[in-house]
Point group: C2
Chain length 333, copies 2
DNA sequence: CATTGTATTGTAAGTACTTACATATATTTT
DNA sequence: AAAATATATGTAAGTACTTACAATACAATG
């Protein structure tokens, strides 16, 4: 069952069938309808490989991320997949487990699969050492590369970012206004967005004339119990803090558990602000105040930008979206 | 850059190059090494479309699920993607949003993309009305279909299941042994696995000579606050229960929040058992006792079975895996 | 040494599409 | 009505592989 069968039954040439297939305007309505009818009758589906061979491209986008089971990335993948499908694109997924070797291997693999573009989801995608990202910059010479919540400069690379810095700046400011003076900051990674959040926190302190204390800033694995235990340890060591801000809700949940364990009352005695406004935020008692990084909007914007690229328009190399502070019960404001 | 360039430079025919590409044994070692060296020097990558055209197949598996952002499915996708990649297969993802129309559309789409097999992840994939699944049974005539945690009988369909029924049977039994007499059961959907869990709960009651009370069994959306509010409503209406079992940790978290709201103490006054042993399980205080549905093992088994199918072996049409009861702090046992 | 068999390689015909260019038909202009 | 133009369709040459079958080379056997 191929294009010849259709052309034969419709009494036209294969070129005409192909034109109908590709929505060419150079086909009369009468012929188009006829061909369409025959295709339907025959239950004909064009062969993707032959199509890809001819066109050199296929309606497929590669999505790479470190770990699709991470809630934040899982949502990103969901919104990307859905959005792309709306434009008729399929998604092929690659999880790198955050190893540079895998990142390089899979990017190469996606290119050899002739995907039309590659979306890199998550700020952890970008290596701290800039030259370690050369393979991305190089790949971008031949295929559009989109970063969701990650930043890398380069030709043919478009980034969509959340204004994390302003968000934590604002949130920390409100914490200070509500009386907090010793705000502990917990972050998971030194990624672009991770550092942005941290800088916003520091901005707020500076803006209010408070010192940026190194003994209030800690890195912690993205794990509820790890965060709880770290806080417990700091508590025991005598460190005082009246608020905890985190780069991820997971850590904030850990902070709530720390407060429970030490019988500190939230938010009177301890304020907590999470990040990502994930489903964890409503799991705790009291429920978490959290910064919504608007992953859905981030994905939608990324796809919009990609479509501009595909249509040859000049797409912005960098789009920034404002975050949303979602007030719940772990803060006084 | 194609197979001709390689053949020319290596001084062999394209057939020989192709044989090297496909690991044919009918090539002398000397020739193979030569061709491999030339490929490497030229940086040659075979064109997937031409390859697919010739072979009629491509190293790609379609994965369908209702919603990749659901934690359970997100993990399934992760393990499937990783496992398949280990065998050299790519994954293309389709989220159906649980609409029958989408399921049919995407299954057709995956078939037209000539994927080598389709994995249906999640029990919600199967429609309650059996004839609504005919499109799957039909598709299975032409392409292997694997169900992860879902059940459908049919030729060329292989199911990997978790023994949910035994798991809830055992768990409910322990609850009864620890003194509970009015165990509330909350479930999210009437899927195959959903019903299995419910039946296990009923088995345990029956086995202990307790009545199965309709007023203790409720359906609830998969949402923390919805579960909490439902329990609050039941509580207010005067219903008594001394334990809550749920088909998903999300609902169990809601139960913990209900207990907090009504100042009932866990587990003395109220026992709670969740399902899936997800990351939610350690978010609450006290932490959730939960049944681990062993999604990783489920995915690994599915892939093993698929490889048997690919190799022409006779794969089991149904494999069952035992669940694991993870004891934490919301139960007395 | 001729014959048979086996291992290796090459030729050529698929595989199912796209599209530049040529041609035929229809429409408009003069 | 002829010429010019626009529209519609067809022909044929890509696109980059696989593989059945043919051909060759080379070793083993009688």
């Amino acid at each position: 069952m191929n294009i010849y069968d259709v052309s034969k039954k419709a009494g036209v040439s294969i070129a005409t069938v192909s034109r109908v297939l590709n929505g060419s305007p150079n086909v009369s309505d009468r012929t188009r309808n006829l061909v369409l009818k025959v295709m339907d009758e025959l239950g004909y589906t064009p062969n993707v490989f032959a199509r890809g061979l001819g066109l050199g491209t296929i309606q497929t986008i590669g999505i790479m991320c470190s770990d699709s089971s991470d809630p934040y990335l899982a949502h990103a993948i969901y919104y990307l997949e859905q959005g792309l499908r709306g434009y008729g694109y399929d998604s092929i997924l690659c999880c790198t487990g955050n190893s540079l070797e895998n990142k390089q291997k899979y990017l190469e693999l996606l290119r050899s699969k002739k995907v039309d573009a590659i979306i890199l989801a998550g700020s952890k995608f970008i290596e701290p050492k800039l030259r370690d990202n050369d393979y991305i910059t190089e790949a971008a010479q031949e295929i559009p590369i989109m970063l969701v919540n990650g930043f890398l400069e380069g030709n043919n690379i478009c980034c969509t970012l959340c204004d994390d810095r302003s968000a934590t700046h604002e949130a920390a400011g409100k914490l200070i206004a509500s009386g907090c003076r010793s705000i502990l900051y917990l972050y998971t990674s030194r990624s672009y967005s991770g550092m942005g959040k941290l800088h916003g926190y520091q901005d707020a302190l500076g803006g209010c004339g408070l010192p940026v204390r190194k003994d209030l800033i800690y890195q912690c694995p993205k794990d509820v119990l790890a965060a709880r235990d770290l806080l417990l340890k700091l508590h025991t060591s005598g460190l005082f803090f009246d608020a905890v801000m985190t780069s991820d809700d997971t850590l904030a949940v850990g902070a709530v558990k720390y407060a429970h364990a030490t019988r500190r009352s939230i938010p009177d005695d301890l304020s907590i602000i999470g990040y990502n406004n994930s489903s964890y935020a409503v799991c705790t008692d009291p429920e978490l105040t959290s910064i919504d990084s608007r992953i859905e909007a981030l994905c939608a914007t990324t796809i919009n930008t990609l479509m501009i690229v595909f249509n040859g328009g000049n797409a912005p190399s960098r789009t920034t979206i404002a975050a949303d502070l979602i007030k719940r019960a772990t803060t006084k404001f």
